[in-house]
Amino acid sequence: MLIEVVIILLKVGVIFVALLTTIAYTTYLERKVVAHIQHRIGPNIVGPFGLLQPVADAVKLLFKEEIKPAKADQFFYTIAPMLSFITACMTIAVIPVGNWLEIGGKRIELLISDINIGILYIFAMSSLGVYGIVLAGWSSNSKYSLLGGIRSTAQMISYEVSLGLGIIGVLLLSQTLSVAEIVRQQSGSIFNWYFFKQPIAFFVYFISAIAETNRSPFDLPEAESELVAGYHTEYSGMRFGIFYLSEYANMITVSAIAASLFFGGWNGPILPPVLWFVIKVVIFLFIYVWIRGTLPRFRYDQLMRFGWKVMFPLGLANLIITALILVMKS
């Protein structure tokens, strides 16, 4: 019994630390890639190739003065970044980072928890993420924060629908809600990947995911030309840093879900499963940054129109067609 608890705690620790490291180095990746797209060099002073830049950033943020608006709602102002970060990190719990390990005759699954409603859990967590942002916007008692928060809420609620429709396309084929089981179904050949069976679902999912994580070109909540910095305008120091971290944590979880549901997760030849998983996630992160370096920001009405009039019908049509084919087959 005790050993079970220890194993679970170890898994949580390892995956959480790995997630935090990935978050730190995603910021580095983003700065480097965007810099090179713009013919710049990017961070290169701190450490070799600037590799210690994330550490320097973290130290800077920790030592900065925290300025709290006097009229902010203290309780929600404090709790909002936590809520945002915790929900962003919790999603990773149901995603298998590799096949199982065998240590001392004990089989250790390389995921924190293989719950049978994994996908539902992912939906729940991504919905909860909105609260962090809307509370931050409201509690700061600033018009920019409030508008940023409201925009963000509207955007995330709209795109969550298409995000869900994208994932349901896979669910229909897999007949299970457990992410570990879905990944196992995709083993064997590259053509077992759900991407090849559900390309439209992947397309809908990925675009909605970019909108869901408030990334460029859908980064309207933090449109600096209109809203200063959006919902985290009034935040400073590490509280601001936490919002930053949760944005990147969201990116990573969304990439991990995309890799697991559509691209076979840890499945792959020769290399160890964990490495395959990491490679796939990093490719998705690169695509995220690449898109950020390419596309300008949407206007708000364009965003809403795109969400409801293009992504939603496309996801729905894909769902209906998939369902029809499945019914006709059986």
Binding site: H36, I41, L295, F306
Partner: protein, 176 residues
């Protein structure tokens, strides 16, 4: 299929991939960043930086205080007062350039009949005090000595005549 759908379709399958391919190609180009304090920028010879006042090879100043540089200067940043040595050679007793007013146009360099003033390549002479930017004759000459030392070390041929021009004394006083 409505207009939105069709436009999205077009942008997704034509416009966005084109844009992405361009940025991907740019990813592998050489960055244009100059790592300035670490790597010195390369200047063309014609670059106009901090002035210097030249000397003849015997160490005497070339400037004869004719005032043409000050007259040519559009920013009016050169100030000079003249004097004469006992042997009758004119020189500038005071020669000051206000480097904050100077626009580094190089007109003084062009106006000078004695090849006495030039604009060098030095560009890092910032200071926290405005008074530090009044460059006196001594400072400008010291600047030349530094440049001259570098020139000798690099064995570059001098660009200007090194000896003072010797006027011949008229054989007989012109009758007047």
């Amino acid at each position: 299929m409505n207009i939105d759908m069709w436009q999205t379709f077009k942008s997704v399958f034509i416009a966005i991939p084109t844009g992405l391919s361009i940025t991907f190609r740019y990813l592998f180009r050489k960055p244009v960043t100059e790592q300035y304090p670490k790597v010195r920028p390369k200047f063309e010879d014609r670059y106009r930086g901090l002035h210097y006042l030249t000397r003849y090879s015997d160490g005497s100043e070339r400037c004869v205080c004719c005032g043409l540089c000050a007259a040519a200067c559009p920013a009016d940043c050169i100030y000079m007062e003249c004097a004469e040595t006992p042997s009758g050679i004119r020189y500038a007793r005071i020669y000051e350039i206000n480097e904050l007013r100077c626009i580094f146009c190089g007109m003084c360099e062009e106006a000078c009949p004695e090849e006495a003033i030039f604009l060098g390549h030095e560009f890092e002479f910032s200071s926290g005090d405005r008074d530090d930017f009044i460059y006196t004759k001594e400072m400008l000459l010291a600047n030349y000595d530094k440049i001259e030392k570098e020139r000798v070390a690099k064995r570059i041929k001098p660009m200007i005549r090194q000896e003072r021009f010797q006027f011949k004394k008229p054989a007989a006083p012109i009758g007047h």
